[in-house]
Structure formats: C-alpha cells, structure tokens
Symmetry: D2
Subunit: 145 residues, 4 copies
C-alpha cells in the first residue's frame, strides 16, 4: 500500500488533539523540573487518549485485532522546563500513515508556550511476536478520516 | 498541641474524596498488571488533588509557607490487580491530625471493588532542611473543617 | 504446611544480603531527595537479586514453574532522605515462609545508617491467573537453607 | 570557541564506554518487554557513570561549578525489544563538544546485538536558572582528552 499524505486543512490548528497533563512530584527531579524521561509518558498518554477518542483502546487493539503499536523512533527537542503543579497539554497531529506505520508530531505546551516538540514513528506489530502487522483497516479509516 | 480526633459523621462515605486515575502502559509491568510501585504515585496524586481542592498546591506550600509534606510511613495491602486502560479511583480520608503530622486512609477502587488499601502518615517539614514543622494553621483549619 | 520459623543465628548480621543501589536523577524529585515511590524499586531489585543469588530469576520462575511472586502487603518507615549520587545498600532478610508466602524484612542503608525499613509479604501465584500457588519445593529449600 | 571534532582512532571500539544495566519488573510493561521510556533512564545512567569515571559526579558539578547538564535533544531508534532479567550494556561515545554543549552517541546492547541507538545533545546550564553556561575547562579537558 502506498503511503498516504494526510490531507492538509486551511485551519489545521483547529484539529490539534490536546490532552491535559498535571505535573506531580513523581514527574520531577532534583533539578526542580520535570525529569526529561517523563515526557515520554506524557506523549504516550496523549497518543493513547487520541486513539481512545477515535474508539480504540489498547485492550481492544490487543484482544480484538491481536496488535499493539510500538515506538520505532522518537526525536525530542527540549525547549523550556516544566515544574511541579503546572498543567500542561500534550498534543497529537497525524503526519503520515501507511500500511503498518503511523507518524505523528507532538508538542508539550503550557498555555500558549511550547515546551517540547516530538516526532514519533509508531509501528503496528503482532502481540508478543512483535512482527510487523497491517494497521486494521477500520482503525486506519478513523485515523485518516 | 494535643492530637485531634477527626469528627465522625453519620454518613462518612458521602465525604470520601476520590480522584480518577487512568492506567497506561507506563504503569504496567511484564506480569500484565499495574506495577506495585505505581500505586504510590496514584495515592500521591489523590492526596495532592485533595489538598488542591482545599486551596493548597505544592508550590504554594513551598513558596508561601516554606514547608512540604513528606511520607513518614505507609502500609499497603494489595487485594486485586489492575490492568491497562482501566479507570480507577484513588480515595483520601483524613484519619488523624496533630501539630505536625497528618494520617490518611486511602483506597484504590475500580467501580465498587477495592483493589488496595493504604494507611499513610505524612509529616510537615521545612523545605530543604527536612526538619519537622507545624502545619500552617489556616491549612490545618481547612483540612479538619 | 505449617509455618516454619526461620532458624536464628548467633551472628545474624553476617547473613544479611545487601545489594548496591546508586541514586540517579531518575530517582529524585523536586524536593531534592529520592522520591518515596522509588524505594519500592530499590527493594524489589534487592529481592530479585537475592533470589538470583540462590539460582532463581524471574524468567526461570515463570517459564519452568509457571509462577511469579507478587507483593501482598508492604509497610515502610521512612527515617532519613537519600540524595543524588549516593550509593545505598538494600538488604533482604527472610522473616518467615510457609507453603505459598514469604515474609522478608528489608532496609535501605547508607554506610552504617538506616534510611528506611520495610516489611514485605510476598505471595507465590500462578502466572496470568494470579491464583495462589505453592512455592516450588526446591526453591523453598534454598530459601530456607 | 570553535567546535572541536573528536579525534578519530583506528580502533574506536576499544574506547567505547559501556555500563551494565539489568532489566527488572520496574522497567517492563504489559507488552512483556522493556517500556520504551525506561531507555531514557538507562542512557542517562550510562552518561552519569561515564562522567563519574572521569572524576565528575552530579553533586560535584552542582556544588563546585554551579552547573548541570540537561538534555536539549534526543533521537532514539528502537531496533529490538529487551525483556525481564536481561543484562544490557549502555554505551557512550563522544561525538562533538563545544563551549557549552556535548553531543554523544549511545547504544543499548545485549551481547553483540544492538537494541537501540541514540543521539543526545546535552547543554551545560546554570543550576536553577537553566541559562546556558560554559562547560568547566577542566571537565572539558578530561572529556576530550
């Protein structure tokens, strides 16, 4: 299957999915800011909720389709630190999708300020075996649609 | 200051504070269930939000009063496992309070089912020095009140 | 099977298993000290290495015996904070064992100083089902022996 | 200060710093493999020990020089999953250094097999303020040397 470019929109900012994330002590380190590895979790929560908003949770993907999405690559740019008690937003924007992979661009924001940008490539794989699998057609349709 | 027993109520269950917690991959382990150490985080999120609902966040406690609450002791009973995608509730009930410590009883619940019980003793300490400090009077009033 | 009291020794301190744990940024929080939930991990690493030193790792327990140990209850007393870069020791001492459960007492130490004490009750359960299972006899023998 | 290319060697593999990392339950997720966010921690442990082997720990950098290294960007490629009980190696190779930043290339390995590659850019910043700072000369000398 050929790669499908995601259709552009005139006002893309209206379609950015954002999920709220509160910073607790568990997320901070002795530097007084959010530990850099915690952003991985924030980004994944947002991707999970983005899929859930489309009708798919991890349990359903596993039980009904026998697949799970795994991170193939991730590139993060850290622009500003976040601190305890802050409420952040983690965004998800689809960048590309083909038969077995999804690419998303994500941001961590605080108010209008961007704290971190991420490019994430996810692969659909068979549970346990971790072999590449086609993205279920109906899921693909709702992601692109 | 003498220890103050928290006043009983006829319908205590009406006053139980509960905070929702969603289970993500970050919280699970290879056993397929929530990693036992993650419950510490769920319990702390609930205590933090319980204080925030009373008008106090960690930043304010630190900046305005120069104190922070630290865990002195915690006892957990694990009754049932939780799994990916589940939405749990983490409760907080005040059990006792004196000049410098707070004791709370907490539960992790799934629907009406109790997954975990916790008894937590928190001490109010001066920031950085970690020496015992009196709980700020106004905070104490809203906690007991 | 009746509960077996672990045989006392004249110099018990010679038999305390201790596993080294280094404190990294990942383990600290904005209070400048080790986040309290991290101690769970330190304690589990020590228990895992204590079993491994007896010839059993998690993979073998799962694959060969179809069981895993889960935490049933844990009580922690926090005595002193630990900080970045410190090298701690996490000890394990068997307190009791019966057909399906093990009780251990653990400490986190820094030099000769005790930072935390823990009482942990572990249950042997069947993989996935999480139903109580007998501790494999040969494992039981090496634990007690 | 101009950017200094790190001098090539005929047998670079002899100079690769590698730090052992054991996989515990704390590092795994319900997919049965190491949770992708945990690799951040493994990579940071290796960088921290690499600096410590050169005579610098985080505490000394903070107390004596008033600086800390923060991650500015990181790119990870995930090649193969790791599992419970495995002993991995996390490598660190200096790629470039200038007045205020360090670039390292890292790998997570299992035996001779590469599980993950990482490119990490670290910035030296003033503690608390998080403003760019020059890398202390003596530290720079030992890193390049």
């Amino acid at each position: 299957m050929s790669r499908i470019a995601v259709k552009p929109t005139l006002q893309p900012e209206l379609f950015v999915y954002s999920f709220p994330v509160r910073v607790y002590f568990e997320n901070t380190d002795a530097g007084g800011v959010v530990y850099h590895g915690e952003y991985f979790k924030f980004l994944e929560r947002a991707r999970t909720e983005w899929l859930r908003a489309k009708g798919y949770d991890q349990h359903e993907l596993a039980q009904r389709h026998g697949v799970v999405f795994v991170v193939r690559s991730i590139s993060l740019e850290f622009l500003r630190p976040a601190r305890i008690d802050e409420e952040l937003g983690a965004t998800v924007t689809l960048a590309a999708i083909d038969a077995a992979t999804i690419e998303v661009v994500q941001r961590i924001e605080r108010g209008g300020e961007c704290l971190l940008t991420a490019e994430v490539k996810l692969a659909c794989v068979k549970i346990a075996a971790f072999q590449p699998a086609r993205i279920p057609r109906e899921l693909r349709d709702v992601i692109v649609g």
